[in-house]
Symmetry: C2
Subunit: 306 residues, 2 copies
């Protein structure tokens, strides 16, 4: 199996589970469920849930999907854990695109939630996805390899203010139009994007009940790819068209955002992303072949073009 086949197979599982884990559009009140699903099923690449699953496979062995049946609590719990990350990611995109924040009309090539459903519904749809993420973790049925509260701890820290996603968004907003130093830029990258990417890996490791050494290595891997991810994001905003990205390109420069290329230039940004990739792989060494999908995913994150 190559990475493309792996992604196709895992994406299908995640898509089906996401659809099962969010209320149907004919459930009352229907508009909110339509708005949630509009953004949730808009062609996302599902990087976070797939990282979570691949991490659990690295710890538990790549045969975990064959070993447990589709309805086994161990496998259902893993997929649910993975989906909670995508619900948080999607809520953050909806709120980030609002006129009061980044004011973006286009996301994943489709009109953003507030363009279709209005601002009020978009705010509430974001709130609902955020709430739902914690609900699906809380409602997980055992027997499970870990306590759901451990997963909710990881997710809420990564999504929260101090060193979490919201903290990063605030720092990002406050940096607009100002010159920022390397420390501040690192804080923004690590918190705004890095924290949830790292949590995807950490939650996979928590779920799989990884030992301390394995957990720390995987957490470091997640940290490195989180930083690489945001640097590449910054590079693509400069080098790609809106059509290729499926969202408005060149926004960072327009809004005078603090970005890696604006501070260090494009060439140094590419080098730094490559360095994070190398460091990430370094933390996987002792897993040998078991970590093959995590290596392939890291490479894909660094070499992506959208």
């Amino acid at each position: 199996m190559n990475l493309s086949d792996y992604l196709t197979s895992k994406t299908a599982v995640v898509e089906q589970a996401l659809s099962d884990l969010v209320p149907a559009v004919d459930e009352r009140p229907m508009t909110i469920h339509k708005a949630m699903r509009h953004s949730l099923f808009a062609g996302g690449k599902r990087i976070r849930p797939i990282l979570c699953v691949a991490t659990a496979e690295t710890v538990m062995g790549n045969e975990v999907f064959d070993k447990y049946g589709d309805t086994d609590p161990v496998l259902v719990g893993l997929i649910t854990t993975a989906c909670s990350l995508e619900l948080i990611h999607t809520y953050s995109l909806i709120h980030d695109d609002l006129p009061a924040l980044d004011n973006d009309d286009l996301r994943r090539g489709r009109p953003t939630c507030h363009k279709v459903f209005g601002e009020a519904l978009a705010i509430l749809a974001g709130d609902a996805l955020l709430t739902r993420a914690f609900q699906i973790l809380a409602e997980m049925q055992g027997p499970l390899p870990c306590a759901p509260a451990q997963l909710a701890t990881e997710l809420s820290k990564a999504a929260g203010t101090t060193n979490g996603m919201i903290g990063g968004q605030v720092a990002d907003l406050e940096a607009e139009g100002h010159s920022v130093d390397a420390d501040e830029l690192h804080y923004i990258h690590r918190s705004k994007t890095g924290a949830l990417i790292q949590a995807s890996v950490r939650m996979g490791a928590v779920y799989a009940n990884a030992g301390e050494q394995d957990f720390n290595s995987l957490s470091q891997y997640g940290h490195e790819i989180g930083l690489a991810f945001q640097i590449v994001d910054d590079i693509l905003d400069v080098t790609q068209t809106s059509e290729a990205l499926g969202k408005t390109a060149g926004k960072d420069g327009e809004q005078k955002k603090a970005t890696f290329p604006s501070l260090y230039g494009l060439e140094a940004s590419h080098q730094r992303a490559e360095q994070h990739f190398a460091d990430a792989c370094g933390h996987l060494e002792h897993f040998g072949d078991r970590a093959k999908w995590l290596r392939a995913l890291a490479e894909k994150i660094v070499n992506r073009t959208s």
Copy 2:
């Protein structure tokens, strides 16, 4: 001890715990923590956390605060559970006051979050309080009388879309300017306000590990006072001044909201609130004197003037 002393004593405990459970204003990024605290410490009456605590006392006995010390996990866990409800309530007020929703400048007699910090920060402060509510539940340290996931299940259902707070807000928005029937109004009241009030009682009962019969009675009590609470809210919007309410009065009529008085008139609304109060007390009968604070709280909810 009379109700006033009881409220004073429990409010002090809740205020202190809320302050301890939310990042300090000097923690980075500072603005988001200022915005969160602006709304969290704006003179709220803490009805939901106190209902939660009083319910647990009804099940566990009114000596629970004397029996356990301030640092005992059982007591700390109960207060944390109670505070999670206030974080959810406060987030919902911040988002509800936004220009895209109710567009309110005044809340609890103070300028609303977005008036002070701007819309972007207000959206993120709401998101952060919502996230924090689930974080404090997930991070609770045992030994506890119940599993944190049970509490998070109750909270997320009550705050969510189907029959939950967000569902009620959506139905409320969609009913603006239309005539609604009794069924629709009941759905709005039960979901928008009733669900979180009822969850305050249910979470107290879950935390205290109530038996099935006690749990069902308490849940019914919570349902009745939730409906009474919203009917009284609707009445006060018509009969009180903005000064007395600490928020803009007469908004419901202005925004053509679906309310109990607009559908049934003031007199019938008063009667209905009294009936819910009587029904609520009916569900407490077999608890005898142990439920004295729940009775007193129900009476206060029905007879409040702000």
